[in-house]
């Protein structure tokens, strides 16, 4: 087998063999780790047990929100720790869960989703345009713009803006107006899907056709076949 993943260790042999080691600071303590590994692997490599702060390990779930700073740079940045590589002199801490408030709603029962935004998330229109949310977003989403579009009722644009949102929540603690932009985003995109988007006619035709038993004959023919006959039928259908 050409692949070799040492299942007992986070860091593969290939990585460990890399001669280069770098120094990083994890939550204030200094460690030497192989150059180029992810921040997540650096945690494992340095003996940290990880239960919170890890989910998909692939940059999709936002569990691993991390603050970091590179050598001599005062700017604290954010990243997804499972998908970001260590650099020499870097300092990082995984972000704790932030107690944001999520409104609850029944999208079908809402009178007017665009107006209801202001009762569900009354803080949304109080955005002060500081742009901190956008700067905090590891997915490079224009979060501030997304919030404004929600306030202006352009929910379609909101859904496009937030399609890349992994719900890491990094935009929330920085907001000086106590807005949870990602939650506003989810609300507006769902409301767009439920209340504004046209229903696809073909889908309803297909559901009806199935209910009407339009495929009954085909099923009967197919389900009676022996394995050999089925194999032949499947093999002959063209792609």
């Amino acid at each position: 087998m050409t692949s070799s993943f040492d299942t007992e260790k986070a860091v593969s042999r290939e990585e460990a063999l890399q001669p280069q080691m770098v120094t990083v600071e994890i939550a204030g303590k200094s460690f030497r780790v192989p150059a180029g590994i992810t921040l997540m692997k650096a945690l494992w490599y340095t003996g940290h047990e990880v239960t919170r702060g890890a989910g998909c390990l692939g940059g999709f779930c936002g569990a691993c929100a991390t603050y970091y700073r590179t050598k001599d740079d005062p700017k604290v940045k954010t990243c997804l720790g499972c998908s970001h590589a260590v650099e020499d002199g870097m300092s990082f801490s995984f972000a704790p869960a932030f107690p944001a408030r999520k409104a609850t709603y029944d999208l079908n029962a809402l009178e007017n989703p665009k107006q209801d935004l202001f009762t569900l998330y009354p803080e949304a229109p109080l955005c002060r345009n500081c742009n901190a949310c956008t700067e905090a977003c590891p997915q490079q989403i224009d979060v501030r713009e997304g919030v404004w579009k929600a306030v202006f009722g352009d929910f379609k644009a909101v859904s496009e803006t937030f399609m890349d949102c992994v719900m890491c929540g990094m935009c929330v603690p920085v907001c000086i107006a106590d807005i949870a932009p990602n939650l506003v985003g989810v609300y507006a995109s769902r409301a767009y899907g439920v209340r504004e988007m046209k229903k696809p006619p073909g889908l309803f035709d297909r559901i009806q056709a199935i209910a009407d038993g339009q495929y009954a004959d085909d099923w009967e023919r197919i389900l009676k076949m022996s394995d050999d006959e089925l194999q032949q039928t499947s093999a002959t259908i063209k792609s």
Binding site: S12, W44, T46, C61, M163, R190, R206, Y215, K238
Partner: protein, 526 residues
């Protein structure tokens, strides 16, 4: 080593390759290729299970040990419940959320318990899409036949028919919850063609299908105020005096305490097994994909099916090192991306089924036509710039934003350069045997999603899993909601565990590991 020189082989051969067509293999050729190169056929990696419902069946060594493993739960644990529910759903991925929402909607009292946070799962990572026969030239019957062919004719017909027929109503449900599937100009659902399918049938939300579905399902679980228990790993099921399932024991990951949940019915939706790194393969799976549901169901007596077959996704990352094992979306091949060996040649029809494509990549690498990186890893090229050449500049940004970002993080521009790939452990084809409502051979124990088995045969067709989750999550949720109306709670026991421990002794099983595994042991020990 000069990586640019390796890239140039791909750039220089691109125009010639664009003129070529590469035929799919005949059934006989497929068989020969797979038998020779697919990891499912490495005999040394397999052994038979020593005891229990699947005694004597062959499976990979890693899984056999987990199935024969012992529980962390002591036999004399106090079973006074901390939680009581009609329906206990274990696992907060797609199948778990769907089951919980459907059961809750019918009035059942649901407890949704999960190991990490709600939604941290394989489901959130699905990029390729969800197969549902909605296009005018397509039909559920066609979907059935394609899946059967992909699964080497070994799929459970009844489960499969149920899935394909309920597909369109699932699309409707998701749309009603606000999932933004891609649309055509006429408002119809846009469909893409997936590997191994004769018709365009993949519903997508750009390349964030799983993320979009999970964002919506999670939001809805919270809206419905379904009782949630996060960072709690199920470590044992509970049985009543008749042997039916009656709840579960959890271990709180923060303080290691045991938590007992009494439930009239249990739906296991704990997902896959990738983090067991079968045969040493890297994996595309999430942190908690350790096959827990298989161990839990096995110990309480539920038989498993097709546990000797796994899916190795053809395109796992090889370089840069940070992306090893991570999935490179199949969409690139669906849209015409070529696979290219170290000599600049194509070697397989890129749209053939996953097992065929994976086997052919392993063949290229084992026969010396792979590309070796400075890290020592070997792979073949996936020609991503070809899509820009074929469909115009900006194609990758528009259709594969997640993948562009995935590589850009490490300084690789997939619009300009190809990426190196090698098969990665992706999916557990088999699992716990279920009926069309998701019920196992153990009464009141249901399984939905990747933990269940039979539907996909020996090779899951791409995009069928997301549908599987939704259909069997729904069916199990509805079935239990109905059943609990006329049920009372059983008396909680660990009788099955006692029986299992006795059997282990009788079979003189030694070196028992502790299972379920819960999380991979990645932390370096002093």
């Amino acid at each position: 080593m000069d990586i640019q020189a390796l890239h140039d082989v791909v750039h220089n051969s691109r125009d010639a390759r664009r003129q070529q067509t590469f035929p799919k293999l005949s059934p006989a050729e497929r068989d020969t290729l797979i038998k020779k190169f697919h990891p499912d056929h490495r005999e040394a990696a397999y052994r038979s299970v020593a005891f229990g419902p699947n005694e004597g069946d062959l499976t990979v060594r890693e899984l056999a040990s987990v199935l024969e493993g012992d529980s962390v739960v002591p036999g004399d644990l106090s079973l006074t419940p901390h939680y009581e529910a009609d329906v206990l759903v274990v696992g907060g991925g797609g199948a778990g959320c769907a089951a919980a929402l459907h059961a809750h909607a019918q009035g059942a009292k649901v407890l949704l318990a999960t190991k990490l946070r709600l939604g941290d799962s394989n489901s959130v990572m699905a990029q390729g899409g969800m197969q549902i026969a909605v296009a005018p030239d397509d039909s559920p019957v066609q979907h059935f036949l394609d899946t059967l062919k992909g699964g080497h004719m070994k799929n459970d017909h009844e489960l499969l028919k149920t899935m394909v027929e309920e597909g369109p109503s699932i699309a409707k449900w998701l749309l009603e919850l606000g999932v933004l599937f891609d649309r055509d100009d006429d408002g119809n659902l846009h469909v893409k063609k997936g590997g191994g399918s004769t018709k365009a049938r993949l519903l997508t939300c750009s390349d964030y299908t799983g993320l979009e579905i999970m964002r919506v399902l999670k939001d809805e679980v919270l809206n419905q105020k379904i009782q949630l228990l996060e960072f709690a790993a199920a470590v044992e099921l509970l049985s009543d005096e008749q042997g039916a399932c009656a709840g579960a024991v959890f271990q709180d990951l923060d303080n290691k305490r045991f938590l007992v949940a009494a439930a009239k019915t249990v739906i296991l939706a704990t997902g896959g097994i990738g983090r067991l790194h079968i045969q040493g393969f890297p994996t595309s799976n999430h942190y908690g994909a350790t096959g827990d549901g298989l161990a839990l169901a096995y110990r309480i007596g539920a038989p498993l099916v097709q546990i000797d077959t796994f899916q190795y996704h053809p395109s796992g990352g090889v370089y840069p090192e940070q992306l090893v094992g991570q999935l490179v979306t199949e969409g690139i091949r669906s849209e015409g991306g070529h696979l290219v060996n170290g000599r600049g040649e194509r070697f397989v029809n890129e749209l053939d089924t996953r097992d065929v494509v994976s086997s052919s990549i392993i063949r290229e690498c084992e026969e010396g036509r792979g590309v070796r990186m400075p890290t020592g890893r070997v792979g073949v090229w996936l020609d991503t710039p070809l899509l820009e050449a074929e469909h115009g500049e900006g194609t990758l940004d528009k259709h594969f934003p997640a993948m562009v970002r995935q590589y850009a993080r490490y300084g690789v521009d997939i619009r300009k350069d190809p990426v190196l790939i090698y098969p990665t452990l992706h999916y557990q084809n088999g699992g716990v045997k279920i009926d069309v409502n998701g019920e196992t051979s153990v009464k009141n124990l249901f399984v939905a999603g990747e933990t269940s088995g039979g539907l996909h045969g020996r090779n899951r067709l791409m995009g069928n899993s997301l549908l599987d989750l939704m259909v069997f999550g729904k069916r199990s949720g509805l079935t239990v909601a109905e059943r609990v109306k006329t049920m009372t709670h059983g008396r909680l026991t660990l009788n099955h565990l006692q029986r299992f421990r006795t059997e282990a002794k009788q079979h003189r099983v030694t070196n028992q590991v502790t299972s379920p595994v819960v999380l991979p042991a990645y932390t370096e020990q002093p």
